[in-house]
Subunit: 340 residues, 2 copies
């Protein structure tokens, strides 16, 4: 029997819906924190297959989830292009910012495969041990990766990246094209190693006005999707254009995804109206409702289940799980969904 | 002849539309920065009528704007309630966080009028000198003020505030009610002092799932609006539920605003479809398009003008103006709008 996540991504409404929680495999689990403390460096965790595979599987050892997502991080693909990447303690990624033609010239596709090979090995190990659950690989979508590469770090506005897009759209396009090509290598390798679904996180898509959203989010995603379909027609794609808001319908119609993840703020009823019924919706419980637990959490989850019943739906959070989440709330949520 | 901003807020489509730029009066202007450097403390600037009035008027001395917004800040109302407020250099507001019943008991409505009196004096001074432009007063909307009051500082997630709303909704409601009452005193005083329009900034509304959005954004705003209409029926209200996304229509239908400001990410065509045609839309040029200037800016502004032509529209940014904005780009934008 086909796995439920794959049935839903093929357009089938499965009830109760399959469930998994994005995004960092086990960062709310003590067994993850112990591993993290031992390894020290976050990037080292991501690039050590033995550790990354174990972390990917940790949530499955505790909860009856239908899928697990590769333990990795959005900008790994920029490391593949030759941009140095490090993680400062308690902060996100730090990269030497790309601001000029010359900065871009220094990047290359030649070593992507060598550099991301440990991630592929992680996928192979997870695939061997995942059992009946579905293995989801991922990368950052071109726009969001470009944001990090140009800005050099996380930011509320990503002003440098967005100003480059306005002031020198040809240069920004060249960067986007390079990220598409690097992502093709990276994601095809994940699929070849055993990833059954691929997800594209466009965490910063929601900052853009409509025309910029079409140009830098929808078009690059559609090109990436079309190229992946050519070589891997049986690997469905889930896109997460976070805070897409009024642009969600355009994204669903044109980005070439089989599933669209919706963020916490999106009204699931509105999403169901904007997105064609053949495309799966994934989401969208507030991660803070999961931290709160109890009746507030169950009520919030119940409304999402009701709103998306009868269409293809994968239950998930609307944003990444937060570290202070009590694991028993996760257990109670999964039980609620199984019991509907 | 009635001022264009007021005509638009009465439901009239005026062409070309009136224009002003939110939110910090002149922070992109050298004359503001000189004043800021002289005064040192940001809060002192806000509470010194002579300085705050001059800053409010600075953009009008350079550009043919149709309105000016009071120079102040969102959490001033919490200062009125007795919560200490300060601004750390280069950071936003810092407040001793409200977390318990006892913290709430320490707040009071008794001194609001005394504490915010300097702001009212600022409004009086601006009203005397503003000429044909419209004077817009403002405060933080209840939810966003509550976010600052509970969290104690700016934040990407406002986890403490949002967890209080899930875990102890009665306590959070009590805080919201108190902010509504303080805002009533504060905003009525602004109107009495000469503010012709009042704006409610709900900067963090877009984090909330639909039910929470209705409960903590729409309902409190509607209550505040109804109470203001009772005493000041001729002062129109503009609400700015930033990143409302799919909830914009619900907000427009139920929050009791005569104008709704839309953020950068909102597709103006989608907003026009979601918001009744009698309610004015305000927005929504990307502040970074204004920084970029030139053809990219003019194209982006032109699309917004076209999308909202034929309905009541006040041209503005979709988010606050950023300090690095070149003043001559502002001049070129205003000229473009006048010349359509």
């Amino acid at each position: 029997m086909t796995k439920t996540v794959l049935r839903v991504l093929a357009g089938e409404a499965v009830w109760p819906p399959p469930v998994w929680l994005m995004r960092q495999a086990g960062r709310y689990l003590p067994e993850y924190r112990a591993m993290r403390a031992q390894a020290g460096d976050f990037l080292k965790l991501c690039l050590t297959p033995e550790l990354a595979a174990e972390i990917t599987l940790q949530p499955l050892r505790r909860f009856a989830m239908d899928a697990a997502i590769l333990f990795s991080d959005l900008p790994i693909v920029s490391l593949g292009l030759g941009q140095a990447l490090r993680y400062a303690e308690g902060e996100g990624p730090i990269l030497p910012p790309i601001r000029t033609e010359a900065d871009l010239d220094a990047l290359s596709l030649d070593r992507v495969a060598d550099i991301v090979a440990p991630v592929w090995e992680t996928v192979r190990r997870v695939a061997a041990g995942i059992g009946p659950a579905t293995l989801i690989g991922f990368s950052g979508a071109p726009f969001t990766v470009a944001c990090y590469m140009v800005e050099g770090h996380g930011s509320r506005e990503f002003a440098a990246a967005r100003l480059m897009a306005y002031r020198d759209p040809a240069l920004f396009q060249r960067l986007i094209d390079l990220i598409i090509d690097a992502n093709l290598i990276y994601l095809r390798g994940q699929a070849d190693a055993g990833a059954e679904v691929l997800m594209l996180f466009d965490s910063w898509a929601g900052m853009l006005p409509p025309d910029e959203f079409r140009r830098w989010v929808i078009h690059p995603t559609a090109r990436l999707a079309a190229a992946l379909r050519e070589t891997h027609p049986h690997v469905p794609l889930i896109g997460f254009p976070r805070l897409a808001g009024s642009m969600l319908g355009d994204y669903a119609l044109s980005a070439g995804m089989q599933g669209v993840a919706i963020d916490t703020a999106m009204n699931p009823t509105a999403a169901a109206a904007m997105v064609p019924p053949t495309i799966a919706l994934q989401g969208n419980l507030d991660p803070l409702a999961l931290v709160a637990g109890g009746p507030a959490m169950h009520a919030a989850a119940g409304k999402i289940l009701d709103a998306l019943r009868g269409r293809p739906h994968i239950f998930n959070l609307g944003h990444g799980i937060v570290p202070q989440t009590p694991p028993d709330h996760v257990g109670a949520l999964v039980e609620q969904i199984r019991a509907v």
